[in-house]
């Protein structure tokens, strides 16, 4: 669109959707299941909250089908905080996404943490005015989600484990491949597109820019200020913290510590100060102890 011809106020364009992700940079988005937790998150300096029915650690423990939250709970959270409110829809469940758009959530997370509704297709996100964030484990998956209209990418990590190892793997894979891609010549772009199973135009764009066309955040298993610093130093542009905050012994204090650590991620003296006396972190899980790999959901 030629901006000199733009006269009306236009909603829902790509720049507007990606714009909110740009605003969240350097911040912490916190999973909350009710208004009380949302308030604690906002008080601690969260840039947004993610409303969901159960945090991933409980979904993992209790099992069963995990779905979009009850709209009533989301509305209560919207009434309680002034920061953006995100909510999760199942992979491919465009009807849940339609409901969340009607609710005017600020971002929809088409999330592997919930039970997928479609084993082959993700939501066609271009059809929505509300922006979407999607998880990815590698560059090809990230670009497929962007081609479907995602305005923000996050690593999947392995949610609900309190173990950062998978998030690190995914982040390193995405950023490492971007680095390699920038070295590819014009002919190699086509074979990259083939192996990434992603549109060649997007692959070329990433090769030229040296970064994704949307921000890249980190999620999945973060539990400490040091975890936040680690992934920010690896190149994440903001962090999502799920079970890590409200499954710990002092959520308010830990939440604030993670916010400060995300801002001052390169400053060991700050990291040391905020890491002290945080109380017990969530109990983590080793990868070979888990039955369901949430990160494998998504196509």
């Amino acid at each position: 669109m030629d901006h000199t011809e733009l006269s009306a106020n236009v909603t829902g364009g790509s720049s507007v959707k990606r714009g909110l992700a740009e605003m969240l940079r350097g911040g912490v988005i916190m999973d909350v299941v009710n208004a009380e937790q949302a308030k604690i998150a906002e008080d601690a300096g969260a840039v947004a909250v993610m409303a969901l029915e159960r945090v991933p650690a409980d979904i993992r423990r209790e099992g069963g089908v995990a779905r979009m939250s009850d709209p009533f709970l989301i509305e209560e959270i919207q009434r309680t905080v002034t920061i953006p409110v995100m909510a999760k829809a199942r992979i491919g469940h465009f009807a849940e996404a339609q409901i969340l758009q009607e609710l005017q959530v600020d971002y929809i997370d088409e999330s592997e943490v919930l039970t997928p509704a479609d084993e082959a297709h993700h939501v066609d996100k271009w059809k929505f005015i509300v922006p979407f964030v999607c998880g990815a484990t590698n560059l090809g998956e990230a670009l497929r989600r962007i081609s479907e209209g995602a305005a923000l990418i996050r690593s999947k990590g392995e949610a609900g484990t309190g173990n950062v190892v998978e998030a690190v793997r995914h982040l390193r894979s995405i950023i490492g491949d971007i680095r390699k891609l920038t070295q590819a010549d014009s002919a190699e772009i086509y074979s990259w597109a083939k192996s990434l199973q992603a549109p060649v135009e997007l692959v070329r764009e990433v090769a030229e820019a040296g970064k994704l066309p949307v921000p890249l955040f980190c999620a999945g298993g973060l539990a400490t200020p040091a975890d936040a610093s680690l992934v920010m130093q690896l190149g994440a542009e903001a962090v999502f913290v799920g079970s890590g905050i409200f499954k710990s012994s002092d959520p308010a204090k830990r939440a604030r510590a993670i916010v400060e650590a995300t801002t001052h991620f390169k400053e060991p003296s700050v990291l040391l100060r905020v890491s002290r006396n945080l109380g017990a972190p969530m109990v983590g899980i080793e990868m070979d102890e888990i039955e369901v790999r949430l990160a494998e959901r998504g196509w």
Binding site: M23, P84, Y107
Partner: protein
């Protein structure tokens, strides 16, 4: 000349990129020690979060003092909220840097669904209209007689009233915009700011 960009949270990278393009020396401001600058840019982001971080990093008091002494400042979106001397619909503990005499309403246009793109005519700026992204933007509800309004937008609000509201304001050496020139590579407001120095 050295311009500081408050780098606690938000899209400070985009402001730094514009300063780079204009070949202006810049510094990321994360601690009080970084405040040895000739002007400060306060980026877009989440104003409640930046407000908390301004206090925890010890920047709030010295920055506010510098602004009172006349340090030139440019704020976009959250930056406008932080520089305004009065905020409606903020948090009670939200800090104001009290640098420009306007009243702003946080998220005054509505939630993200209402975020929009438009093009603006800006007085004193030439070379055509300015592309503008409004992201959960603040609405300027009142300006004092000391404040010059450089651009306005007409908007249909949720209560179905059409209002024309200021979107770029200037008072002495402070410029604020409720939208994000930095996100679209628009550098003319940055140049206007640099002329104040």
């Amino acid at each position: 000349m050295r311009i500081g960009v408050l780098a606690l949270q938000g899209d400070f990278i985009s402001h730094l990129a514009i300063l780079d393009k204009l070949a202006i020396q810049s510094v990321m401001v994360k601690t009080p020690g970084d405040l040895d600058v000739d002007g400060i840019i306060i980026p877009g982001g989440e104003s409640t979060s930046i407000s908390m971080l301004l206090q925890s990093s010890g920047i709030y008091e010295p920055l506010r003092a510098l602004l009172h002494e006349g340090l030139p400042a440019f704020g976009t979106c959250a930056g406008m909220i932080l520089l305004a001397n009065s905020v409606v619909d903020g948090r009670e503990d939200q800090m104001s840097l009290d640098a420009i005499d306007i009243v702003v309403r946080r998220n005054g246009f509505g939630r993200q669904m209402a975020s929009f793109e438009t093009s603006l005519t800006v007085s004193t700026i030439e070379d055509g209209p300015m592309r503008a992204l409004f992201i959960r933007a603040p609405v300027v509800e009142k300006v004092s007689s000391e404040v010059e309004v450089l651009s306005s937008v007409t908007y249909s609000f949720a209560d179905s009233s059409d209002k024309t509201v200021p979107v770029i304001c200037r008072q002495n050496k402070v410029i604020v915009s409720s939208f994000h020139p930095e996100l679209v590579g628009e550098d003319r407001l940055h140049k206007l700011f640099l002329e104040l120095l």
